[in-house]
Symmetry: C2
Subunit: 408 residues, 2 copies
């Protein structure tokens, strides 16, 4: 397969101009040709020709125009809106979490069409065995979708930790016992196809950028709270990966000298106060002890802690309050350094965001320069298992849009 | 005057191509035509034509070729190297510091050709009076250089604090008693010419980018320690100012919850441990009390503290050691978030960098993800009063290079 995949790119002919139009349609979700022309500066004739090609190639479809979409200036003739064709391609997305290997098949607009989850304590397995389990999960998910791997556009994999996206190397990850696991290469060899690997929080940022409600924003920052605390940074419509390709380890910035011990071995990391394991660890002072190296036990203990807090137990509430304060101080530091217009909070912990929210906002006001006046918008985005899958899909699509195109 | 100033741009004719060549010469300091061609991808014929124009316009000069520069392939004919003509233009640079108004006249390569300093406790004066003192300083410096304001390319002003570069508004600055001083407008009105205003640490980053030994680097970060702790961030050859235009307040990131009180009114800021006033304040435990709102007294007390530390006084050494540790933790946070390949330390405090260095490096190793292995290069760049002047010049030149050009 040479078109519309990581080996062939979109193979669209027309190159850069076509990608610009495709990108405009993607960002706006549903858009009239005239608005593409206005937004891109391309002539209406060019837009008409390019969109005709995109439609004939099956990448774009015309939506039935609604009454509301009819522009009065066009004398009642309803405006036809263009959108991406959801069925134009399929992407395989994988998330390797401490207790799950989740595989999904996603379409061109980020909807999950098939998925397969494997419960496993990843850290107890050898990396090669983890790779085998990922391969099995991919096979299962493809079978459910009635596809072969060759019929997909590519495979995107998210792994927590310090991941070198360019080489697919896991420099350090809480899911592997050892550093420097070449997991991208291992998977590419097993699957016989190119594989893209990235930090899991970067995937969430890509999911926001490609499919999120703020996809049209040029600059924003995503912070995820779950097993760990991650961050993805979008500057000028591009995910920023840092000059040394392992950027945005926000969870390991320090807000307390000699503070709480983190899984990374250092002290005072935000993660050591805010991640799920940190809440459960602190709750050990008054709840039954829990082995926080066991992800499932950690999740059960966290559910119990959340239930106590929902019942207004003051000690449980205080645990959430402190986590919110520390997270707020960390976010204020990000604001002071980067001054983003929008911060999106995401990750499983945001399901209980109401337990953190007041403490986060109070800490932001007390610690961001300019105080309350100059705060960026802080949004909590709806969270579901599909976010990671969408991110893995976006990782592949993002690369597809960048591959050299035929023509120009 | 309509050419080579903030109203007319370079007025170079040839537009973008000419600027690309000019920029290449600037970054390389002295470069042969053939190397410009290789670096820019422009044909040798184009480079020859464009450089001929630049020479005839007086922006570029030919250097006498040295023996070493002769390329063997050219059969002994010495290669002619091109460089910026230092005398092509003059820029006015101003730094408003708590105790000084420093004005300099700088040439096209950042050399200071005239300067005038006014000692004054800026905070005790009304903003309009500060503006008048700046105007007087500019007049003095111009007289020394034998120039009129109209013969300069423009005026760049650096002010500490939260400065909106786009509007010239000082949102908060330690040198003014009140927020929201439209100092850029005030100066433009007084001087009758466009004025560019920016945060003083951004000026140091621009000075590094334009005239520093690392000017060819695409990505780096400058941290300044002086009255305060500032930061400038260069990404992809551009100063990053943040989406809300007041970025990089690194000095006010927090590394200690409920920590030391900062001049900004918040607690636990890096600045509250590392800035000159913070060292003197801590030394108050064993040295004669010093009014840290008086910049001159602060500087004298700091000299006394440094002398004690140089004499290996253990308490004085400990004050520097702690400051180094806190600065190192802050730098590690920057590395964890942005992962820059190079950090440049600058500012007056770096004159005594040997008193901080070991503590900085120990804290970096203990707090950066990846520890010692993945640290960026950390360089202390020679520091002198000319750095700020060069930065103000770079602020003007940076804008000149961006102004729309005739032709293209």
């Amino acid at each position: 397969m040479t078109g519309r995949d990581l080996e062939g790119g979109f193979d669209a002919g027309g190159g850069i101009t076509k990608l610009r139009v495709l990108n405009e349609i993607r960002r706006r979700e549903a858009v009239a040709r005239v608005d593409i022309s206005t937004a891109t500066g391309l002539s209406r004739g060019t837009v008409t020709a390019v969109t005709a090609d995109l439609i004939s190639e099956g990448l774009v479809i015309e939506l039935e125009a609604s009454e509301e979409a009819a522009a009065p200036s066009q004398r009642g003739r309803p405006r036809v809106l263009l959108a991406l064709n959801p069925d134009a391609l399929r992407v395989v997305g994988v998330k390797v979490a401490p207790d799950t290997i989740a595989v999904s098949i996603t379409n061109f607009v980020g909807d999950v069409v098939a998925r397969h989850d494997t419960s496993v304590q990843v850290k107890l397995r050898e990396p090669e065995e983890v790779a085998r389990l990922v391969q099995e999960g991919v096979d299962h998910a493809l079978a459910t979708a009635g596809l072969t791997l060759a019929q997909t556009a590519g495979i995107g994999i998210g792994v927590p930790g310090f991941i070198d996206h360019a080489t697919g190397l896991c420099r350090w990850s809480p899911v592997f016992g050892e550093p420097d696991i070449p997991f991208g290469q291992m998977m590419a060899k097993r699957l016989g196809r190119p594989v893209l690997l990235d930090n899991d929080a970067n995937l969430v940022a890509l999911a926001e950028q490609w499919f999120g409600p703020r996809r049209a924003e040029s600059d924003f920052l995503v912070v995820t709270v779950e097993h760990g605390v991650g961050m993805g940074l979008v500057l000028d419509h591009r995910l920023y990966r840092g000059a040394l390709r392992v950027a945005s380890e926000f969870g390991h910035t320090k807000i307390q000298q000699g503070g709480a011990l983190c899984r990374c071995g250092q002290r005072g990391c935000i993660e050591a106060y805010v991640a799920e394991y940190a809440l459960v660890r602190e709750a050990g002072a008054f709840m039954p002890a829990c082995d926080i190296s066991d992800p499932q036990a950690t999740r059960l203990a966290l559910d119990a802690l959340a239930a106590l807090a929902e019942a207004r137990d003051p000690v449980a509430l205080e645990i959430y309050r402190r986590a919110g304060t520390i997270l707020g101080i960390g976010l204020a530091n990000l604001i002071n350094i980067l001054n983003p217009p929008l911060i999106v909070l995401s990750g499983r912990a945001m399901r209980t965001s109401h337990l953190f929210w007041d403490a986060i906002m109070a800490a932001l006001k007390a610690n961001a320069v300019g105080g309350e006046r100059d705060l960026p918008r802080i949004e909590i985005h709806p969270w579901g298992d599909d976010v990671w899958a969408r991110g893995a899909a976006a990782l592949v699509l993002d690369r597809l849009y960048q591959l050299p195109q035929n023509g120009s």
